[in-house]
């Protein structure tokens, strides 16, 4: 096995036994990034070799001194909306092309404290708005599956593609309406959005504050449990972070599924779902049954309204959050403005890309006088109904299982000019976000030689149950370790 194929847990075992150093591992990834990233996968916006090697050497020195830490010496990469002190953070936008944070996000601090090594920052749809990473202001990322002709999903497409191409041991992304789970499904890796509030959002460049959440991309569910453990927990710097104890997620793994009640929401098998995706998900349900779970269908009647209410609420929050880009405090400023007012129009008109402008317009419209009640307030009431659907289902079930995405990875360019077609990619992930629930995507096979994802959904703060179901499935189904062939 090559170094770059090691999971987080295998890499840690190698370093703990002294067979392997963080510097060796870090150099192996940096060499692979050099060879496969720019011009091919294009997952990285910024690579930080000097910082990575410095952190790796420090990790090795700590180990030699007899120290250990949960991720000591493990090379990782972060979605480029994660603040990293002294490392450029663009959010995939020209607006922040030269922005160098003066603080670390809480998640960055936690990962550094756990000993992780930063390889670089990962590509994304601008301000996390998109489902294909084609809305990056810099370049699209290519899915390592499908001869580099397909999208990796989005908005955390760089995080998913980097992991699938083994350009990091694990990566971090963020999910607002599916931006971790959908790219994880399309790239054949594990991606987890924990409960809203489980992971601090301090230092996550804001898109829609009632929905945004950080989470990990990993090669398997055990790695996912370990990273979730490190990043979870209360943070006084984020007043929406939950002050609830973080249980030991690793100890949830390995339990069987006897007597576990699993609901399968029928509405998630939407019109237009690909046959191969549906077959892979149904085969996964058979695996869950064979493990002793009670699997039955359940109805979440307001599912159809998830997408429609989300595309009013998220743009509304976006239009408020992105008002901060005024060309004064940080970020791009139009060089040819004649007055302060002129500067606002030109700075925002030139600094934002097409999708971001579309969402700002949509959100401003939904919040504007005369339309607030009919659009924004109405959507918030529908959000209540969506949450109530889940509350009722979780009276009877321990977890819900559904497809993550109705399709496999589509071709680059295929949907980029059709915003509504692009929005439909998130139809199976959005309701979960609207209810703030933990949702994980785990690979469940291939359709047309492209990965399919199975979504496991839990009650609020039931990360442990979600990981347990996903882990049992993964162990029985044997899709972990599925790798694309990168013939370069």
């Amino acid at each position: 096995m090559e170094l770059i194929d090691l999971t987080v847990i295998q890499a840690l075992a190698g370093m703990r036994s002294g067979e392997l150093s963080s510097e060796e591992l870090t150099r192996a990834y940096l060499a692979r990034i050099e060879r496969l990233d720019r011009g091919l996968v294009q997952a990285y916006l910024t690579v930080t070799p000097e910082l990575a090697l410095e952190q790796a050497r420090r990790a090795d020195a700590r180990r030699r001194a007899g120290e250990d830490a949960p991720l000591l010496g493990v090379p990782m990469a972060l979605k480029d909306l994660t603040l990293t002190k002294n490392v450029r953070t663009t959010c995939g936008s020209k607006m922040l092309e030269e922005f160098v944070p003066i603080v670390d996000a809480t998640i960055t601090t936690r990962l550094y404290d756990a000993g992780a090594v930063l390889l670089g920052k990962l590509n994304m749809d601008e301000f996390a708005m998109g489902s294909s990473t084609e809305n990056s202001a810099y370049f699209p990322t290519r899915n390592p599956w499908g001869d580099l002709t397909r999208v990796p999903g989005g908005s955390s497409g760089g995080s998913a593609a980097a992991l699938a191409a083994r350009l990091a041991t694990f990566t971090i992304g963020s999910d607002t309406g599916g931006s971790i789970r959908q790219p994880a499904a399309l790239c054949g890796v594990v991606g987890f959005k924990p409960t809203y509030g489980r992971v601090s959002r301090y230092g996550l460049v804001a898109f829609a504050s009632s929905l945004d959440q950080f989470g990990p991309f990993t090669a398997d569910v055990s790695d996912c449990a370990l990273i979730t453990q490190v990043i979870s927990g209360h943070d006084p710097l984020d007043s929406t972070s939950l002050d609830a104890p973080v249980p030991s997620y690793m100890s949830e793994l390995g339990a069987d599924l006897k007597g576990v009640r699993i609901g399968v929401p029928t509405e998630y098998f939407v019109d237009g779902m690909e046959g191969g995706v549906e077959r892979a998900v149904h085969a996964a349900l058979d695996v869950l049954r064979s493990l002793g779970a009670d699997v039955e269908e359940v109805s979440l009647p307001h599912t159809d309204y998830g997408l429609t209410s989300y595309y009013l609420i998220a743009p509304a929050e976006c239009s408020a959050n992105l008002a901060r880009y005024d060309g004064v405090k940080y970020g791009y400023a139009s060089p040819d403005a004649e007055s302060m007012w002129d500067s606002y129009y030109k700075t925002r008109g030139h600094g934002f890309g097409a999708e971001v402008k579309r969402r700002i317009m949509l959100g401003t419209y939904a919040l504007s006088s005369g339309y607030y009640d009919a659009f924004y307030l109405k959507a918030q009431k529908v959000r209540t109904l969506i949450k109530q659907d889940f509350d009722r289902a979780f009276e009877r079930y321990d977890a819900l299982v559904a497809p993550t995405s109705p399709t496999v990875a589509f071709k680059l360019g295929e949907k980029v000019d059709d915003p509504l077609a692009m929005y439909l990619n998130d139809v199976c992930t959005i309701p979960v976000s609207m209810a703030g629930l933990p949702g994980l995507s785990v690979p469940c096979g291939l359709s047309e030689d492209l990965p399919v994802g199975l979504q496991v959904i839990g009650k609020p703060l039931a990360e442990g149950t979600v990981l347990r179901v996903a882990h049992a499935y993964e162990q029985a189904a044997g899709w972990a370790g599925l790798r694309p062939e990168l013939s370069h």
């Binding site: 405090k329 302060m340 030109k346 419209y365 949450k387 929005y423 609020p460």
Partner: protein
């Protein structure tokens, strides 16, 4: 539903978003399509349903009102597009003939 060009211009003004004529034309068409689709929520009866702004069971978090050190001014100004003598530098604010005043 269809959005007029004047509505596009009004919303862009509210958002302080400079748009080219081409962008206005495209957004007029796209926003009309998108809002038509999102209007599907009209079919849901919500007369007795309260709105949900956020899903977590938290009230406003209070903390002691104690002064803490803030980031050094030089650090903050490092990311400013323009600054002078410890201040952000901006284009003239008070100009005559501005429709926003």
């Amino acid at each position: 539903m269809s959005i007029s060009r004047e509505e596009v211009e009004h919303v862009a003004h509210l958002a302080r978003l400079g748009l080219s004529e081409e962008e206005k034309t495209r957004l007029q068409r796209q926003l009309s399509q998108i809002l038509e689709t999102m209007r599907a929520i009209d079919q849901v009866d919500t007369t007795t349903i309260p709105p949900t702004a956020q899903v977590i069971p938290l009230d406003t978090i209070m903390r002691e009102d104690v002064a803490r050190p803030s980031a050094p001014v030089d650090d903050i100004l490092r990311n400013a597009p323009s600054h002078e003598a410890g201040f952000f530098r901006v284009p003239p604010v008070l100009e005559t003939g501005d429709r926003d005043l």
